[in-house]
């Protein structure tokens, strides 16, 4: 469904997609509008002024200069710390990681400083930062460039987590992220960057934002609820489409933010369908899939007709070779067969 061409230029855009905004362009536009609106917004990251690997910051430096689009050295601890300090000093930094996995070298600055300082100071400071984290596998990028580690950050208190799956959401959620007074991690699936999605007219409205904590019901259905994020939303939709032909009606819910999580919408859906499948690229153990199952089981146990299920990385690093990578990550086919099992159980 998504190609493995990582940094390659895209091919020609198919006719019907010409009008659709691209995912990476949507993020770029959101940041540009917010930088125009608010002089406190600025950017830091490796190579973001010139040629950042995925081009999400393209041409921002032309409009805003190198002071607001700051190339950093390879010093992620200092850079995340700089964002925390600058945010406390009234700025609204956006930090790009070239691959989200690299945040692993700066976890303390995120979880102990950015996320805790407001609490520890009894509310004296606020830390409005956005950290952009390209994530996800299926791109032949290797184990240390392919993870989806958001479950960790949903676990640690004080961090909001956004997971856009379409251009519209990428733009609207980014704008919310920038305006939020708390630390926000913004996960961008690498396979989505070059994709294009139809968007409503509000896409062009610089005042339009998508609030955190409201799930999108991507498809309405009666027999089973799939909760999925990022690329898995699209895999799930394709599975649902195929299953519709078999007479199985699948509801697909995209939470869009994990913190805050729209538990209500998910639970309502399962109350209706009685079946839950949680799908994500995240490692399964203590992952977001299990969290969704636990929440639903706690709150809508009576509604469940069959045991809920989850799909994800069963617990190995995302390997380098394509056939191995495909063996590890969920996809349309695995989703389809899980749903078939569940509805026929």
């Amino acid at each position: 469904m998504f190609d493995r061409r990582l940094f390659r230029p895209g091919g020609p855009v198919p006719q019907r997609e010409r009008e659709w905004p691209s995912f990476r362009g949507a993020i770029n536009e959101a940041m540009r509008e917010e930088m125009r609106r608010d002089p406190a917004v600025f950017q830091m990251g490796e190579d973001i002024a010139g040629a950042s690997p995925f081009g999400v910051t393209a041409r921002l430096v032309t409009e805003f200069g190198t002071e607001r689009v700051r190339d950093t050295p390879c010093s992620e601890v200092a850079v995340v710390g700089a964002a925390v300090g600058a945010a406390m000093g009234g700025m609204r930094p956006i930090v790009e990681f070239q691959f989200g996995d690299f945040l692993s070298v700066a976890i303390d600055q995120l979880t102990h400083q950015a996320a805790m300082l407001r609490y520890l100071t009894g509310g004296q400071v606020k830390v409005p930062i956005v950290i952009r984290l390209p994530c996800g596998g299926g791109q032949g990028a290797g184990s240390q460039h392919s993870q989806s580690l958001y479950s960790w950050f949903a676990h640690a208190p004080g961090i909001k987590v956004a997971l856009p799956a379409t251009s519209m959401d990428a733009k609207g959620l980014m704008k919310s992220a920038i305006r939020d007074d708390n630390p926000v991690l913004f996960f961008e699936h690498k396979a989505l960057y070059r994709t294009r999605w139809p968007a409503p007219a509000e896409f062009r409205d610089p005042n339009h934002v998508i609030p955190f904590g409201r799930a999108a019901v991507r498809r309405i259905g009666d027999d089973l609820t799939v909760v999925a994020t990022l690329t898995m939303v699209h895999h799930a939709l394709a599975a649902a489409e195929a299953l519709a032909k078999e007479g199985v009606s699948v509801e697909v819910i995209d939470p869009r933010t994990l913190v805050p999580l729209d538990t209500e919408t998910i639970i309502q859906s399962v109350r209706k369908t009685g079946r839950l499948l949680a799908v994500d690229e995240a490692y399964l153990t203590c992952g977001i899939q299990g969290e969704v199952i636990a929440l639903v089981t706690e709150h809508a146990f009576q509604a469940l007709k069959v045991a809920p299920r989850r799909l994800g990385n069963p617990g190995v690093p995302v390997p380098f070779a394509p056939p191995l990578e495909d063996a590890v990550l969920p996809d349309q086919e695995r989703i389809t067969s899980a749903i078939r099992d569940m509805v026929s159980a």
């Binding site: 700051r70 200092a78 600058a86 600055q109 004296q124 004080g158």
Partner: protein
């Protein structure tokens, strides 16, 4: 430099010493539990001198040994003590051991060694981006100097010409480890050259010397000249934390260290120079004792936070 300032520095050092002693007493008398107090006994001159060189709008980022700069920047001893007694009237409402008063530019950090240093760099960046001439100062210890966070921040500060003072308070120990064991270079300040930063090594037990070095760094930073690394060599007279019996230090070593007590040195100098009388010192001590007693009383009388307050203040 005038007499009032000299006397003020002595008084600040005395207030730090006595406030912290009272805190340790509270711990030994089991009025407070948890993590034991981290005292600055012997190191008061560093904070007193360094903070005297700052102005409103400047920020300091403190370590686990953070009471000295809090006092030196004029925080209210009552509310400091209330925080250390875990009371709702404390600056942080009982949430933390690391007292913060954002209005006076004191950000209490220090749970994670060196974690405050990158954040101080960020505040300096905000000050620079905001076109102010304000500066930020990160306290950190000799032990902290071996953390990667310090390296990265020093380099970034040089690269971005940040108005940052990296103030290494070298008290000779990282818990039980002597600095000479952990650092083979002649001095920690030697590292500045590797970033293209100016540096100074100063007698950290003389507040005037510290003041001069920090004032020069502050002036450079305000003028757009960027960051400075200052190593203040000082002594830790107490244990790492209050409960530490320091079995790893000899009597002789400690006796020699006590000779360097910055309060003793400053007091003797001012007495010798005729700027202070024995009575004047006694009055100063009495005033400080009164202030500390009032702080302890305030803390004791203050209520604990309510359980439900545990869920406040996480989100903005």
């Amino acid at each position: 430099m005038n007499v009032a300032m000299h006397l003020g520095l002595l008084r600040t050092m005395l207030l730090i010493r006595r406030l912290e002693t009272a805190w340790a007493d509270a711990y030994f008398q089991e009025e407070i539990g948890g993590i034991p107090p981290a005292l600055s006994t012997g190191q008061e001159a560093v904070s007193a001198g360094a903070c005297a060189a700052l102005e409103p709008g400047d920020y300091v980022f403190t370590t686990h040994r953070g009471q000295a700069p809090q006092v030196a920047r004029g925080l209210d001893p009552k509310r400091i003590m209330a925080e250390l007694y875990c009371r709702r009237t404390g600056y942080n409402k009982g949430k933390s051991y690391h007292v913060t008063d954002v209005t006076r530019g004191v950000i209490g950090m220090g749970g994670i060694v060196a974690g405050q240093v990158p954040v101080a760099g960020g505040m300096a960046l905000a000050q620079k981006l905001g076109r102010s001439d304000r500066v930020s100062m990160a306290f950190f210890g000799d032990g902290a100097s071996n953390e990667g966070a310090v390296h990265e921040t020093a380099n970034l500060a040089a690269m971005w010409t940040l108005p940052l003072i990296l103030l290494c308070e070298n008290n000779g120990y990282c818990v039980t480890q002597p600095v000479a064991v952990a650092v083979k270079a002649v001095s920690i300040a030697d590292r500045a050259a590797g970033y293209g930063l100016p540096a100074a090594v100063v007698d950290g037990n003389d507040p005037l010397v510290v003041y001069d070095a920090v004032a020069a760094a502050v002036a450079r930073a305000r003028a757009g000249g960027g960051a400075t690394l200052i190593e203040a060599k000082t002594v830790r007279l107490g244990g790492h934390l209050a409960h530490d019996p320091q079995s790893y230090r000899s009597k002789e070593e400690l006796a020699a260290a006590w000779e360097q007590c910055p309060i003793k040195r400053m007091r003797e100098r001012l007495l010798a120079e005729g700027l202070l009388t024995a009575e004047g010192y006694a009055r100063m001590e009495a005033a400080v004792e009164g202030e500390v007693a009032a702080a302890v009383e305030f803390a004791r009388q203050s209520p604990f936070p309510e359980p439900r307050e545990a869920f406040d203040d996480l989100w903005a």
